[in-house]
């Protein structure tokens, strides 16, 4: 067996956390909370590792003058400046928050905004390339819900606004979403159990 210590850690601590959920004893609940706190601390270390890795990859691109290294230079500069001020002043500093929001909010909002065009383009492509029953039902539902959501300039369609749209959202859409959620939960359960039984070792054991 490769990396037995990592496997033992995964199985032992995973089972303790699981017992904390299902055995109603204060000791297990305390252990679960303590282990989750440790996991949060480790996840924060993981964030630092991820950021360091991002920095290393782009510094290497700059060093080798690879195509597009100018963009990497921009990324490294913006990362180092933000991290330096962030570590010194703290992320709650009003000046730093304003500076960060000046960049993050417009870019996020604009990326969301260009979805209006890319989604329409994707719909047209879907309609042209795969015209089957599922596509028709999908696009018809989206169209009806949009029509029932947005205020129309000429008239209000009561059947659509107050009957069809709420019914579509609350009955068939909820049923489909429930089926998807239960499927995802069953998949999560199975994957988690495989990790706890040592059959899957995504930490590098196998």
């Amino acid at each position: 067996m490769k990396r037995p210590l990592a496997t033992a850690f995964a199985i032992a601590f995973g089972l303790i956390v699981l017992l904390g959920y299902f055995i109603p004893l204060p000791f297990f609940a305390y252990l679960r909370q303590e282990l989750i706190l440790w996991a949060i601390i480790l996840a924060a270390f993981g964030v630092l590792v991820g950021v360091a890795n991002l920095l290393a990859v782009h510094l290497e691109k700059i060093r080798r003058r690879q195509p597009g290294y100018i963009y990497s230079l921009l990324l490294v500069l913006s990362l180092v400046i933000t991290a330096a001020f962030g570590f010194l002043l703290g992320p709650q500093n009003p000046g730093l928050r304003q500076a960060v929001e000046t960049i993050i909010v417009p870019v996020e909002a604009s990326l969301m905004a260009i979805l209006t065009v890319t989604l329409v383009y994707a719909c047209i492509r879907l309609f042209r390339r795969r015209l089957d029953m599922m596509t028709i039902v999908f696009l018809a539902t989206a169209w009806l819900v949009l029509l029932g959501t947005t205020p129309l300039p000429f008239a209000e369609v009561s059947v659509l606004n107050y009957l069809l749209r709420p019914w579509l959202i609350h009955v068939p859409a909820v049923a489909g979403a429930r089926g998807l959620l239960i499927g995802i939960a069953l998949g999560t359960l199975l994957t988690g159990l495989r990790v706890l039984l040592g059959a899957d070792r995504p930490y590098g054991g196998k």
């Binding site: 990592a6 032992a12 601590f13 995973g14 959920y21 299902f22 679960r32 440790w38 996991a39 601390i41 480790l42 924060a44 270390f45 964030v47 630092l48 950021v51 991002l54 963009y71 921009l74 990324l75 913006s78 990362l79 933000t82 991290a83 962030g86 570590f87 992320p91 000046t102 960049i103 993050i104 417009p106 870019v107 996020e108 909002a109 604009s110 905004a113 029953m133 599922m134 999908f138 696009l139 539902t141 989206a142 959501t149 947005t150 009955v171 068939p172 859409a173 909820v174 049923a175 489909g176 429930r178 089926g179 239960i182 069953l186 359960l189 994957t191 706890l196 930490y203 590098g204 054991g205």
Partner: protein, 224 residues
């Protein structure tokens, strides 16, 4: 004359908005500039948040101020965290597998608990609830309407689950196919999945449209 901070912020915001909108003309260098700056700033800020809002209050401050047994306990995540930092170096990255094992194990435990208690039980309960006629009448619902919508929703839920079940057997002719009941339920499930995705698509589209209107309003108000 010094420029006011708000004006500088708005000017940077306008510039970044136009750079991102340039994507509509194709994947241009202008779009890449905005995205790389965005990734850099976000990564730097997330690192600062991880340090100041997770590591400092949960690890380093208690290490110097808590009681001895608590300090001893906190040494474990500290050692595991230092081992995790070894992942940065290709030579020492093997040492990082132990904290990764811990993270994966705890994550699996949390995921199983969340899936069972947070999704499976509540969703199954919600699927059954419309068939409790006494409770429905007590809450003031029309029992027939509630029963009908509950039956449609249950058929949709079962159909959706069957659609993603790919178990099949070889028939007498040697061809591998699902049973007829599974085929019918999967066909029903496809319709429900299409409706669900259509509703989700409409929701995302409305959100995107709202963002577009906000950005266009921002651009217009900048020049006013």
């Amino acid at each position: 004359m010094a420029l006011p901070t708000d004006f500088i912020s708005a000017l940077i915001g306008l510039l970044l908005t136009l750079l991102v909108f340039s994507y509509l003309l194709g994947d241009s260098p202008l779009f890449k500039i905005a995205v790389y700056i965005f990734v850099g700033v976000s990564a730097g800020y997330i690192a600062a948040v991880a340090w100041h809002q997770a590591l400092m209050p949960s690890l380093f401050v208690p290490l110097f101020s808590a009681t001895d047994p608590q300090r001893f306990l906190l040494l474990i995540p500290l050692v595991l965290g230092v081992l995790l930092l070894m992942k940065i170096s290709p030579l020492l990255s093997r040492l990082g597998s132990v904290p990764m094992g811990f993270l994966v194990g705890v994550g699996a435990g949390v995921a199983i608990g969340g899936a069972v208690l947070g999704t499976l039980f509540p969703q199954i309960g919600a699927a059954i609830a419309p068939f409790d006629l006494a409770a429905g009448i007590q809450a003031g619902y029309n029992p027939f309407e509630r029963l009908a919508t509950g039956a449609i929703a249950l058929a949709g839920t079962i159909g959706t689950l069957v659609y993603f079940h790919f178990g099949a057997r070889a028939g007498a002719d040697g061809k591998v196919r699902r049973g007829w009941l599974a085929e019918v339920l999967a066909w029903v499930g496809r319709i429900f999945i299409a409706v669900t995705l259509g509703v989700l698509f409409a929701g995302v589209y409305v959100a995107a449209l709202t963002a577009l209107i906000e950005r266009l309003d921002f651009i217009l108000s900048f020049f006013r």
